[in-house]
């Protein structure tokens, strides 16, 4: 088991945002956590990455306890997070952003090769490589943010709402890319509000309702669950 999370609670001061969730990600799997705004999805990813403190429960990555670990250390272990809202480094060029993604690495040749791989996966980034990241469109920034995460060579890629604020046609592009990344064997933990789209690429899913996991199952099961269809897909 690549990632195992047991009874995770996340606190912001005295406010409990996540009330004890259990889930896991197997090697090579794409797992999605779906839920509405404010359900605690981002908090879970932030807890795994170590950018929020005040976490109880246990999180294991490859059998290793990663609670309260320094974020840089988590990246070194092989977990990369693409944060919500396309957080690229706006004043740096596309190329500098990609190099930045490889911050923890020191194998120069490997980094060079991986940048070429990123350009293959996201051709637009090659075109824009000398441009400041902040000047690109929302979809391009999202692509860059994902590519930057891949530059750390992660075993687990965590995506926080990659569809947020993007036009439907751009969302399709982003998800096509996620499907391609899945084919390379990288495990993905995908957090989404857009349940339909997320389940289309995921193997399994968890439904998060105000900080607790309500339902879980394979994507087919969740897609055919009437309650979920009416709550999250407006069907």
């Amino acid at each position: 088991m690549l990632l195992k999370v047991k009874n995770l609670k996340v606190f912001y001061g005295r406010v409990e945002a996540v009330h004890g969730v259990d889930f896991h990600v197997e090697e090579g799997e794409v797992v999605t956590i779906i839920g509405n705004n404010g359900a605690g999805k981002s908090s879970i990813l932030r807890a795994i990455s170590g950018v929020v403190k005040g976490v109880t429960g246990a999180m294991y990555f490859n059998g290793k306890l990663i609670n309260e670990m320094n974020p840089a250390h988590v990246v070194k272990l092989g977990i990369a997070q693409t944060p919500e809202g396309r957080q690229v480094f706006p004043d740096s060029t596309v190329y500098e952003n990609l190099i930045g993604g490889a911050y923890i690495r020191s194998d120069k040749q490997g980094i060079k090769d991986d940048i070429e791989k990123c350009y293959d996966l996201f051709p637009i980034l090659k075109v824009r490589r000398k441009q400041k990241a902040g000047l690109m469109s929302g979809g391009e920034q999202q692509m860059l943010a994902i590519a930057r995460s891949l530059m750390s060579n992660p075993k687990l890629l965590m995506l926080d709402e990659p569809s947020l604020g993007l036009a439907p046609v751009v969302v399709e592009d982003v998800y096509e890319t996620i499907a391609k990344i899945k084919k390379t064997g990288t495990s993905i933990l995908l957090v989404e509000q857009n349940a339909n789209t997320a389940l289309s690429v995921a193997d399994r899913g968890y439904v998060l309702v105000t900080g607790t996991i309500g339902t879980e199952g394979t994507s087919e099961e969740l897609l055919s669950n009437d309650e979920i269809r009416s709550l999250y897909m407006g069907v």
Binding site: S49, G50, V51, N70, P71, A72, V75, K76, A80, Q81, P83, G85, Q87, V88, F89, P90, D91, S92, E96, I99, G100, G101, Y103, I104, G134, R148, S149, S152
Partner: protein, 296 residues
Amino acid sequence: MTYFLQQTVNGISVGAIYAMIAVGYSMVYGLLYLINFAHGDLYVLGTFVVFSCMTVFGSQGFFSPLVSCLIGACVAGFVGILTERFAYRPIRSGSRNISMVSALGISALLKTISQVIWGPESKAFPSFLPDGKIMLGDIVLYERCIWVVAFSVIIIAAMMLIVRYTKFGRGTRFIMQDITTASLVGVNVNFVVPAIYALGGFLGTLGGVLYSSYYSLISIDIGILGTIKAWAVVTLGGPGSLVGCLVGGVILGWSEAMASSYFFNAARDAVGYIVIIAVLMIRPYGLFGKAKAEKV
């Protein structure tokens, strides 16, 4: 005209010192948006250590002032790391106002420590800068002016190279853009931030030594003065920008020299701020600053 050029030379030398003092302040502000009130008291502490070392080792020659400067700058750097660890880091994620109060507290603490050790009265600082002068026509060019400007430019240029070309510098630039995202790509924030505080204390002390050598004087009060000048330089040049420090420092020093020589001496401290207001009306983020877009 001679008078004007003479005052320009003086202004630029003082401005170069302001720039050195402002570097640490600027970097901290660029990284954390923290107005570090303690910056001035930190470099004064370092400068006093240099002063004491020179009393012990002597202030003649080349070697002992150099060693004294290094010791003082390292002490200030170390105290910078301590203040970051114990006064700022625990409240880093809190509001900026909380950090500001903490900074005021540290400022008072450091000032009191210096005052207890070295006393409240100002002292003569042994100037180790060369005393000679060069005549350029009617203009007197003091050798110490050249040294001060050269030293500041070299140090700031070295800092620029570090920020531009090293991994540490890249991490610094990423933190300036977004501290959380920087940590998500693996920048070790708890290494880079204290290192910047240390550099701030280190370079600030070198600036303080230049200041004290230039005026042959050291006193507790140059602390708050330095904080205010650093604030002015950074507002003018743009937070986090090293070129901004240099240009902002020179503009501030030059306009102060002009004000005190063409108006009256007391206008000196006011004119800098008039220049700042004028610049900010055109460029609200300073001459070399970047607008930080807030995403909602």
